[in-house]
């Protein structure tokens, strides 16, 4: 980049050298896919030894969580440095050394709401890939209306007794621990009786069952809690809930903001990281001579570039301390709707080849089907529009 300051361009050179020296070259040119993601956890087995080497090297430097403080296993980078790190990773085609819901969601919630002891206990387990987390939010009766969760946690003195069912728990069958929203006060108004509880999945009474989607196999599961005993404390200063008891909705809301940004940000990459233009150029040249497809592709490119700038602008604003608040609902709404548009375009551009389960474009069809969930999971588009109109535009209730 032409506009780096001297300090940042030194950082760019150093971090590029570090990536080259620590990420085995064989990993750097492999196509990315669901199978090449390293999730970590107690039961994790690497596809190959290079993945292990890369993850361990990254852990040593704190680069599995570049922005987190070094005391918790991060690298303590600022936003500008992190952006350069991501750019160099993309340029050098290096895969992420470790991904997890711990890094994306629980970590940010603990950093904002956890006790110091909770942070020191749980965060290094996340950055080191030792514990894999999953998120227990939705229930069969609590989808868009998430605050109506009914999974009960009864106060039994030194422990909670938990009964109920979660749904859409991604990778529940692979995770070691779950962070879940449970009702700890059934008398209070619905937002005021929820706690955010951390539960070991090996506890007796926890079971999971995978869900098949229209797109085929999925990481989603149902998770059942049948008389599960969860201790109230995991040690000195380490309560089993994050934030105060009955104030879990605050933590959940904070975390949903992260989830929305993640889903909207994730809408950028597709088909092994190829851009729309690259994908279209790889097709039969007749495709782009179709005026409708060609016009849709141009519009999508305009919107998607401007959306990318907006993601950066909002991140900078959040970073500057001015906050984005509920406007992040816009990113989730727009990013997911745009991703659906993108896949509709790719499907039309691919013609009959696109409808094959495993045709010349690989997993295009299941990916297209899967995008239909983007505007449902993490808050539907309609809920996002409600949030914008009520909280940002402050339109009247009646």
């Amino acid at each position: 980049m032409a506009d780096d300051t001297t300090e940042l361009s030194k950082f760019r050179n150093d971090i590029a050298d570090w990536i080259i020296n620590n990420c085995p070259e064989t990993l750097r040119n492999r196509p990315l896919g669901e199978g090449s993601i390293v999730w970590g956890g107690r039961n994790w087995s690497f596809d190959n030894d290079d993945q292990r080497v890369w993850m361990e090297n990254a852990i040593t430097k704190g680069m599995t969580a570049p922005r987190w403080p070094t005391a918790y296993g991060g690298a303590g980078l600022n936003r500008a440095q992190e952006k350069i790190f991501r750019e160099e990773m993309t340029r050098l085609k290096a895969p992420s050394p470790l991904e997890s819901f711990g890094l994306w969601m629980l970590g940010p919630a603990l950093l904002a709401f956890g006790t110091e002891e909770q942070k020191l206990h749980f965060l290094p387990q996340i950055t080191s890939g030792k514990i894999r987390w999953c998120q227990g939010y939705s229930e069969p009766g609590a989808g868009s209306d998430l605050a109506s969760v009914q999974t009960r946690a009864e106060d039994m003195g030194d422990h909670w007794l938990i009964n109920g069912q979660k749904i859409w728990t991604s990778y529940a069958d692979k995770a070691d621990w779950i962070f879940a929203l449970v009702r700890t006060d059934r008398e209070a108004p619905k937002h005021k009786g929820i706690s955010f509880v951390l539960i070991d999945m090996t506890t007796p009474g926890v079971s999971t069952k995978p869900i098949q989607l229209i797109s085929g196999k999925s990481p989603f599961c149902e998770t059942f809690f049948d008389n599960v005993k969860v201790p109230k404390s995991y040690g000195d200063g380490i309560p089993s809930q994050v934030g105060e008891i009955n104030r879990g909705w605050d933590v959940a809301k904070h975390l949903l903001t992260h989830e929305r940004e993640m889903i909207s940000g994730g809408a950028q990459g597709l088909l092994g990281g190829r851009s729309t233009g690259e994908f279209l150029s790889s097709l039969d040249t007749d495709v782009l001579s179709d005026p409708v497809i060609s016009a849709q592709a141009m519009e999508l490119e305009v919107d998607s570039l401007a959306f990318g700038m907006t993601l950066d602008r909002y991140k900078d604003q959040a970073e500057s301390g001015r906050g984005v608040g509920n406007a992040s609902a816009m990113l989730k709404y727009y990013g997911t709707e745009m991703n659906k548009r993108r896949y509709e375009l790719l499907m039309s551009a691919s013609g009959s080849e696109g409808v094959e389960w495993d045709g010349p474009h690989g997993s295009l069809a299941p990916e297209w089907l899967r995008t239909k969930a983007n505007s449902i999971e993490g808050g539907t588009s309609e809920v996002m529009l409600d949030i914008i109109s009520k909280r940002v535009l402050e339109l009247p209730l009646k």
Partner: protein, 377 residues
């Protein structure tokens, strides 16, 4: 890393521009201009010159304020918000940028006059209903030591009020080539130039310019012979980015009126803004506005930092701003209902200016195609 956040200096500039324009040129001033049959208020233009706005892109040596393209964008956003009419984009942005690139003695004097508000420049490029600089057919034939210009230009913004015009003429090649074009700087009083005002829906100045064997000399050439497109390109891109900013401001103005109306108008014993059908449309509009704002800021930043690589950023901004303004004014009129259709109410002025701004300096399709070309498809 280029940040799209507004700096403190930029916020100060915006606040002072807003304060000034709210007093000096509210939307009612546009209505008054229309009633008086004048495209803009010369008094307003003089005040803009005194505040340094006309010299926003002119170097300090020529008496300019040299604040840069993002600053010009902020001023233009504020003007767009209240539909303040002036030759700002034609003269202070496009002509200043093109002349600055030429940098000879005469261009230097011209820049000083632009900064002082003494010269008003118009840019004469298009000859048909769509923006297409390469299609220039107006010929400048070699004649002795000079040239003779013949042909017509249309949709020349500020063409009737300008005292000078930068005209793109063909000195070689065929219509369709970007090479073989030359940019001339012509006094509007010169024999052989006639101007016809075109009455446009936005009540602003547009004109057709007819060149009939107009004599020009080598002195009148801005930049290099046969390479005028390169000189003008920077000016056009600066204009496109600033026009995108104007449209973004116009969008903000129309949007604020509409949201205000949704919060106040009652039907069926409810405030109409409480209807989810309208809430979701307003929230969608908000989303489009936020995304366009990023593209507009980005275009200004890139023009300030690396003007030679600004085509993509500028075209994203102009395409987005065109589309979002269209959405904002359409939703604005619809959500106002019948009153939105009346001439007495201001929302219609926003719709008319948005349509003119959509066409000027390249429509959505022109800029989307530029984006696609820059992105390799």
């Amino acid at each position: 890393m280029t940040s799209l956040l507004e700096t403190e200096d930029e916020t100060l500039l915006r606040d002072s521009a807003r304060g000034f324009l709210n007093d000096a040129s509210p939307v009612s001033a546009l209505r008054a201009n229309r009633e008086q049959g004048r495209p803009f208020d010369p008094g307003l233009w003089r005040e803009m010159a005194q505040m340094g706005w006309t010299g926003v892109l002119v170097p300090e040596e020529q008496g300019g304020a040299d604040m840069g393209h993002r600053a010009a964008g902020i001023l233009s956003e504020e003007m767009g918000q209240v539909l303040a009419a002036s030759p700002f984009i034609s003269s202070a942005v496009m002509a200043a940028t093109a002349l600055r690139g030429a940098a000879n003695g005469r261009a230097s004097d011209a820049l000083a006059q632009i900064a002082a508000g003494e010269s008003i420049y118009a840019i004469a490029v298009d000859e048909g209903p769509k923006h297409a600089p390469a299609k220039t057919a107006l010929r400048a034939e070699k004649s002795g030591n000079g040239y003779r210009l013949s042909g017509s230009k249309t949709f020349v913004a500020d063409g009737s009020s300008a005292n000078r015009v930068l005209v793109l003429a063909r000195t070689a090649g065929e219509a369709g080539d970007t090479s073989g074009l030359t940019l001339f700087d012509i006094d509007v009083e010169r024999t052989g130039l006639s101007r016809e005002a075109i009455s446009t829906i936005d009540s602003r100045d547009h004109a057709r310019l007819n060149f009939d064997d107009l004599e020009a000399t080598g002195e009148d050439i801005v930049g290099e012979l046969d390479n005028g497109f390169a000189t003008l390109r920077h000016g056009l891109e600066a204009g496109q980015a600033t026009l995108a900013a104007e449209l973004s401001g116009l969008t903000a103005g129309a949007y604020a009126m509409t949201i205000g109306y949704l919060k106040e108008r009652k039907q069926f014993d409810r405030t109409i803004g409480s209807f989810q059908a309208l809430q979701h449309r307003a929230a969608h509009l908000f989303s489009e506005i936020e995304i366009t704002a990023s593209a507009v800021i980005n275009a200004g930043r890139i023009l300030d930092e690396s003007p030679d690589q600004a085509t993509l950023a500028v075209s994203i901004a102009k395409a987005r701003a065109t589309a979002t303004a269209k959405l904002a004014v359409s939703e604005g009129v619809q959500m106002h209902g019948g009153i939105g259709m009346t001439d007495e109410y201001d929302i219609g002025f926003f719709m008319k200016r948005a349509r003119v701004g959509a066409e000027w300096l390249g429509d959505y399709g022109y800029h989307a195609a530029q984006v696609a070309a820059a992105r390799g498809f």
